[in-house]
C-alpha cells in the first residue's frame, strides 16, 4: 500500500510553503519536518484538506524538552493519511518563556485533550483552545512535570529512611 512517497509528499509541501519548512529526516521511513508556529495551522489545514494528501487523521500531539537548545520545547504532531496510508511527523520548536502555539482544535475536535495533556506536562499554551486546563495532574500544581528540570525524586533521599517511620 502507500500511493504517495515521502518525496512526492515533501514536494507538495515545499511547493506550498517553500523555505518555511525544514526537513529533519526520515527516521524509520517516517517523514519528519519542522515548521514554525506562525504557519503550523496553515500547514495542518493544507495537509488535512488537500484532496491528494488527505491527512484526515490526527494520531497524536505531544511535546519534548531539550533544555540545552535555544528553542527548548518542541511540540510534535503525528498525522496519518488513511487514504494514502502515509504518516508524517511535524515539529514546532518554541523558546522558553514564550511557549505558545495556535490550537489545532479548529481542525480536529480530538486535539482538545491531546493539547490539554501537552499543556499539563510541558506548559505549552495552546492559543484558542476552548478549555485549556490540566487533565491528569492536580489543578493546583505549579510546575510542568515532564520538563527535564524536574527529575524523579531520588530513591536514596534521607527522609525516606525507614527509621524516620519507626520501622
Amino acid at each position: 500500500m502507500g500511493k504517495i512517497t515521502n518525496e512526492e509528499l515533501l514536494q507538495q509541501i515545499n511547493e506550498k510553503f517553500g523555505e518555511a519548512i525544514k526537513v529533519e529526516g526520515e527516521p524509520y521511513g517516517l517523514l519528519t519536518i519542522e515548521a514554525g508556529r506562525e504557519n503550523i495551522i496553515d500547514l495542518l489545514t493544507f495537509l488535512k484538506t488537500s484532496p491528494e494528501l488527505q491527512f484526515i487523521y490526527l494520531t497524536d500531539i505531544t511535546a519534548i524538552h531539550y533544555p540545552e537548545r535555544e528553542k527548548p520545547i518542541g511540540i510534535v504532531y503525528h498525522l496519518h493519511s488513511l487514504v494514502n496510508n502515509v504518516r508524517i511527523r511535524i515539529k514546532v520548536f518554541v523558546a522558553d518563556g514564550d511557549v505558545w502555539i495556535p490550537s489545532a482544535t479548529v481542525l480536529w475536535d480530538g486535539a482538545n485533550w491531546m493539547e490539554r495533556e501537552t499543556y499539563d506536562f510541558f506548559g505549552v499554551d495552546f492559543k484558542g483552545h476552548p478549555d485549556l486546563r490540566r487533565i491528569l495532574n492536580v489543578d493546583d500544581m505549579t510546575v510542568f512535570p515532564m520538563r527535564r528540570e524536574y527529575p524523579l525524586e531520588d530513591p536514596n533521599r534521607v527522609d525516606k529512611k525507614d527509621y524516620f517511620f519507626g520501622r
Binding site: H78, L136, N137, L152
Partner: protein, 403 residues
C-alpha cells in the same frame, strides 16, 4: 433517537439537578468522574474528569532502561497486557533494527490475539451485565480464565504478564501451551455462538443498544477514534491490516466493520473480531508446523536477556546479562513511532533515543485516553441509563486512560 428537547440552564421550564457519576460509581468500570447536569433523566451537559490514578509512566520511562519499561506497558491496558508488552518490544526492535525469526512472530500473534479475545470477552460480557443480563458474562468469563491459564504456561503470571523479551520470548512454549490453545479453539466457538444467540436478537438488548450513542464516521475520525469504536462507524482502519507489524501480512483475515456506529454495532464488531482472531491463531498454529521448534528468540545476544542458567555457566552470557541489566548496551540514536492494534484502538509508542541508558522521551498514544474524550459531549441529550451502556461499550480502561 435523541430528538427530545434539551433544556439549558436558563430555561425557566427546567429544574436541573447535578449528579456526580463516579469517581467510584458501581456503574462506571473504574475511577471515572462525570459531573452531569440532569433534566429529569436526560443529560443536559457533562464534564469528564480523569486523573485519579495518574502514575507518571512517561516520566518513569525516562529513568529506566528499555527492559524495565516492560512492566509499565503491562499496566496500561491490563485487560490485554501482552499486546502492550509486545508493542513496546517491537518498538525497541524497530529502533535496533532487529529482524525476528518467523516462529517468534507467529507465537507473538497467537498470544496477542488471545489477549484481544480476552479483552473483548470482558467488554462484551460487561455490556451484557449493564443491560441486565448477567448470564452471558458468566458464560464468557470462564474462557477469559482459560486464556489466563494459557498465559500462565508461557510466563507464570496471568494479568500483568511481562511475557516478552526484546528479541523474542523469555522461554520456549511448552506442549501444554499448545494443548490449551487447541482446546480453547475447539471449545470457544460454541460458547461464543451461544453468547450471540443470547444477545444478538434479544428484544431487550436490541432496544437498549440500537441507536444508542450512534456516531458518524466523520465525527469519529474528527475525534481521532480508533479500534472497534471507529470500525463500528464503518471506517475499516485496522493497524494490523494497514501497517502490518510482526507477521500479520502472512495471514488472511477480514476487518469487520459496522454501519451505524451505535452500541449495538460495537458489540457485533467485537464478536466478529473474536472470530477473526481465532482464525488468525489457527493460521499461525498451522504455519508453526514448518518452523524449527527450538527457536523462540532472535540471535541478538547484545540485546536479548540470556536465560538464568546460562548466566551462571557461561561467561559471555554473564557479560551480556550484566550489560543489559545495567543499561550499558549501545543503542542507536534516533526516533521511532510504532503502533499496534490494541484491543481498544491504535496503541502507539513514540520513542526518542539519544543513545543513553534510558529513552530520552517516550510517549504512549493511549487509545482509551483519546476515545474517552467524546464521552461527555456525546452524552448530551442522552438518558442516564443510555450513558451507562455507552460507557461500557467504549471499553475504557482506567490504567490506559490515565497512564
Amino acid at each position: 433517537m435523541h430528538n427530545h428537547p434539551v433544556y439549558t440552564d436558563n430555561d425557566p421550564q427546567s429544574e436541573l439537578s447535578t449528579l456526580n457519576l463516579g469517581p467510584t460509581h458501581p456503574a462506571t468500570h473504574g475511577v471515572f468522574q462525570n459531573v452531569l447536569q440532569l433534566d429529569g433523566e436526560r443529560i443536559v451537559s457533562g464534564v469528564s474528569t480523569i486523573g485519579y490514578i495518574h502514575r507518571a509512566f512517561e516520566k518513569i520511562a525516562e529513568h529506566r532502561p528499555f527492559y524495565q519499561i516492560t512492566p509499565l506497558t503491562d499496566r496500561l491496558n491490563y485487560c490485554s497486557s501482552p499486546i502492550n508488552n509486545m508493542g513496546w518490544h517491537m518498538t525497541v526492535e524497530k529502533l535496533l533494527n532487529i529482524q525476528m525469526p518467523k516462529r517468534v512472530d507467529y507465537l507473538r500473534i497467537i498470544v496477542m490475539e488471545l489477549a484481544r479475545i480476552a479483552d473483548h470477552i470482558v467488554c462484551n460480557g460487561v455490556l451484557g451485565v449493564d443491560t441486565g443480563a448477567f448470564t452471558g458474562f458468566l458464560y464468557m468469563m470462564e474462557y477469559r480464565e482459560a486464556i489466563y491459564e494459557i498465559y500462565e504456561e508461557i510466563c507464570g503470571s496471568r494479568l500483568t504478564t511481562n511475557v516478552g523479551r526484546i528479541g523474542g520470548f523469555e522461554r520456549n512454549f511448552n506442549e501444554i501451551f499448545f494443548r490449551k490453545v487447541n482446546k480453547f479453539l475447539a471449545e470457544f466457538p460454541a460458547v461464543l455462538q451461544e453468547f450471540e444467540n443470547l444477545f444478538n436478537r434479544n428484544r431487550i438488548f436490541m432496544d437498549r443498544t440500537r441507536g444508542v450513542a450512534a456516531v458518524s464516521a466523520e465525527t469519529a475520525l474528527g475525534y481521532s477514534w480508533s479500534g472497534v469504536l471507529l470500525r463500528a462507524t464503518g471506517v475499516d482502519y485496522d493497524v494490523r491490516a494497514m501497517n502490518p507489524y510482526s507477521s500479520y501480512d502472512d495471514l488472511s483475515f477480514e476487518v469487520p466493520v459496522g454501519t451505524s456506529g451505535d452500541v449495538y454495532d460495537r458489540f457485533l464488531v467485537r464478536n466478529e473480531e473474536m472470530k477473526q482472531s481465532m482464525s488468525m491463531i489457527q493460521q499461525c498454529l498451522d504455519k508453526l508446523k514448518g518452523e524449527d521448534p527450538t527457536i523462540f528468540h532472535a540471535d541478538v545476544p547484545e540485546f536479548y536477556l540470556p536465560p538464568k542458567e546460562e548466566v551462571y555457566n557461561n561467561m559471555e552470557a554473564l557479560i551480556y546479562h550484566f550489560k543489559i541489566v545495567m543499561g550499558e548496551v549501545e543503542t542507536p540514536v534516533g526516533e521511532v513511532y510504532h503502533s499496534v492494534e490494541g484491543a481498544n484502538g491504535e496503541l502507539g509508542f513514540w520513542l526518542v533515543n539519544d543513545g543513553g541508558r534510558t529513552p530520552y522521551r517516550l510517549h504512549f498514544r493511549r487509545p482509551s485516553f483519546i476515545n474517552y474524550q467524546m464521552y461527555a459531549p456525546m452524552s448530551r441529550g442522552m438518558l442516564l441509563s443510555d450513558a451507562i451502556i455507552n460507557m461500557s461499550s467504549l471499553n475504557i480502561i482506567a490504567g490506559e486512560l490515565d497512564a
